[in-house]
């Protein structure tokens, strides 16, 4: 097991290195310079400023310098927020995004599983159809449409919750609901399909024959097996939440990282673009690793290489 984890971590670092390299060169293809008023400066004046930031060096040199800094954990200094370290900006911004992401993933998945479960037990009943409808709507209507509806109904008309802005728990409720629709729909669909399959399989019939009560059938034998495929989609779901927050943060005025990423691309702030890309990349590979490890815990049949030792 340790060897397996060690191996995976090495692969992870390799993946990150490749992502960092590719993004670095792709980013350099962005039009424009990090200068804010380049249209007001003569080419000579622009040169002087670019020189100061080391942007006149040949690309391989810039790449080497950046990677050397990265290895030492130095993400560089932002151009746009002058002289503010990228890490400060990322740290200052990650909180709200992480909170929204975690809240919506948790609540969305739990509710989704329950919904899927009810649907499967009540197969072809009215609950089943309701659940399917919610899933279809949840998957097909983009989260920003929900966000707008939620704002209109719960904030503008009913006045129960704040329209937007950030600060207290009540500010997180509407964005969380808007974001959780997608994980909820995904989880509901998967749980329903898997539950139906599991409930129809032989070992359930056996369990029934042995007199296991319905509760035990559903939760102990059924759900546990049905959840395995769901874990596979939680990874991509978490990642899609990261990008989903991008729009939601904008609509609700949440000072999060997704919004920062968009701004940094607009103003060609190289260090921030790299910083946020790498942050997303790290989260992504870590989530994938965690999920692979979770498999082993949930399903004893999947034991990882060398695990027996």
């Amino acid at each position: 097991m340790t060897r397996y984890i060690f191996q995976r971590v090495i692969y992870m670092l390799l993946t990150l290195f490749i992502i960092a390299s590719i993004s670095f060169f792709l980013m350099k293809f962005l039009p424009g310079t990090p200068l804010n008023v380049e249209n007001k400066l003569s080419p000579e004046q622009q040169e002087i400023i670019l020189e100061k930031y080391g942007l006149n060096d040949p690309l391989p040199v810039q790449y080497f310098n950046y990677m050397a800094g990265l290895v030492q954990g130095d993400l560089g200094i932002s151009f746009h927020f002058d002289s503010t370290p990228v890490s400060d900006i990322l740290l200052g911004r990650i909180g709200p995004s992480a909170l929204l992401g975690a809240q919506s993933l948790l609540v969305g998945t739990v509710l989704g599983i329950l919904l899927g479960l009810v649907a499967a037990i009540n197969h072809n009943g009215i609950m089943d159809y309701t659940s399917t409808l919610i899933s279809v709507l949840g998957k097909s209507i983009p989260s920003f449409v929900f966000a707008g509806l939620l704002q209109l109904v719960f904030a503008v008309q009913l006045g129960w919750l704040p329209v937007a802005l950030w600060g207290e728990f009540k500010h997180t409720i509407l964005p969380t609901i808007a974001l959780m629709i997608f994980p909820l729909a995904t989880a509901a669909r998967f749980t329903r399909t898997e539950m139906l399959e599991v409930l129809g399989s032989d070992f359930i019939t056996t369990a029934r024959a042995k007199g296991v009560n319905e509760f035990g059938i559903v939760f102990k034998h059924g759900l546990r097996n049905a959840l395995i495929p769901l874990i596979t989609v939680i990874g991509p779901m978490a990642v899609s939440l990261m990008t989903g927050t991008l729009v939601i943060e904008q609509i609700f005025g949440v000072p999060g990282i997704g919004e920062q990423f968009v701004t940094s691309v607009m103003v060609v702030d190289y260090p921030i673009i790299m910083g946020t890309t790498l942050l997303f990349a790290v989260l992504f590979v870590v989530i994938i690793l965690v999920i692979d490890l979770l498999y082993g815990i949930i399903d004893p049949r999947i034991r990882l290489a060398g695990g027996e030792k």
Binding site: T33, I48, I49, T84, V156, L165, I251, G253
Partner: protein, 563 residues
Amino acid sequence: MRKSNWLLLVLALVLSMFLVACSGGEDTDDTTSDDTNTSDEGNSEENAGDGEQVFNFLNGDTIPSMDPNMVTDTYGIEFTTHTMEGLYRLGEDSLPVEGIAIDHEVSDDATVWTFNLREDAEWSNGDPVTAHDFVYSWRRAVDPDTGSEYGPYMMGGVLENATEINAGEMAIEELGVEADGDYTLVVTLEKPVPYFESLTTFPTYFPLNEEFTEEQGDDFATSTDTLLFNGPFTLENWDSVASEWEIVKNENYWDAETVQLDKITYQVMKEIQPQIDLYEQGEVDRAGISSDFVDEYSTHEDYQITPEMSVFYMKFNQTRNEALDNVNIRKAISKGYNKNALVDTILNNGSIVATGLMPADFAPHPETGETFRELNGDLVEFDAEEAQQLWEKGLEELGEESVEIEYLTDDSETAKNQSEYIKNQLETNLPGLTVTLKQVPFEQRLDLDTAMDYDIQAAGWGPDYLDPNTFLDLWVTDGPNNYMGYSNPEYDALIEEAANELALEPVERYNAFLEAEQMLFEDAAIAPTYQRARAQLIAPKVQGVQTNPFGSDYEYKWAYAAE
């Protein structure tokens, strides 16, 4: 069969619920906005009940920097201006009034300006604001190691040796600014600069406390704790990533008794719809209105339009497409699209038609006070018939039946709508013309501009100081913003004269500018389209706020909350 019926029924039910919710939403929206209006008043009474001098505003973005030498963006410029002060400040009618300087004398050749500073101005740490603070800050702004963009732009060619110092050819001590004692600042200019007074109101020219700034090093101006203030307000609870902060009355400001506001709170909100919702709920005292919301809110009692000094126009590149080298073709295009319809239906936010380069209400005549636009009149107006005649003449000269021209614009929603409209107008009014649209992100447009890789480009400009020169020196031969191959020696001569021989003759100099603008349009070098305006909902209690043609958009020194 039964099952699918069920499904249909449920589907229909849910759908109708959605429809009801949506249409009901619009219906009740109107009534609730009335409701919230009344409760809004209730709220503001609550807030302003004890005559509290507080505004609650939204800001379109975070403040990326508060270093006055470094700021380039709207918010950096605005908040440094609220919390700091240079030699002068833009007062009523945007004319420079007393700041840290009480007055100044100008030498006979107008190149040496001696400013007398007040002795009662203090930094927020208690240090006095002295002439040395200006010397330190101005040197820092042109120092190539600082990496300031506005430093070389606002000071180069103005302060003696600024350009050479920025290029690393001279020591920063050679800059034309010296302290004569603690309260006299002697400034030597490269040549007479008639608008120098207005330049000193701009953040790049603000003073900095050397000891404090050096002590903070790289951390300087990255948070409230690493800033010093000498302006009407102090900035509280701010750092680079802050999404809310306040400006609070600075009791140590030399003119604190003029300042009536106690506090303005800010929260970052980029989107327009939530801004309006928050305004309607009485949470905030001002909200922006974009074109798509104007129809809905233009009848709102708090709807206000503020003209801006930014002018948008077409640049004709005379070097790439042969057709645009022909003056009649350029004239035909200039006159060939209906700008009124563009402003009224596409922009629809109070923007007005531009008929010259100089915006309306900018740069009054030094003696009569009439504005530049009034004096030079409408130089380019829509006239389909004349445009067509010019077009045919142009085609004949070219020996062509038809012409294809590329039109380069930004890729924002409004830019796209505008370019579609203009394409349609031009192709209808000028037979034989095909316009191909090229829509790219802003940064890319600037690259294509510099490379002169376009035929016609939609561009814009706002003033950097209070003088016609800020718009007119863009178009001199090989000027840093020309990038369209326009060259007219007579035009160059007029601008050159205004900058040198006529620098001390305000009226003659002004006349040279008037003539230069006329010449620009005789040559049809560019085609003016519109002057931008800002539509907003502003609470009635917000009073005394000034808007400026350059520098900070708003000035709150004289603002107050009405009962």
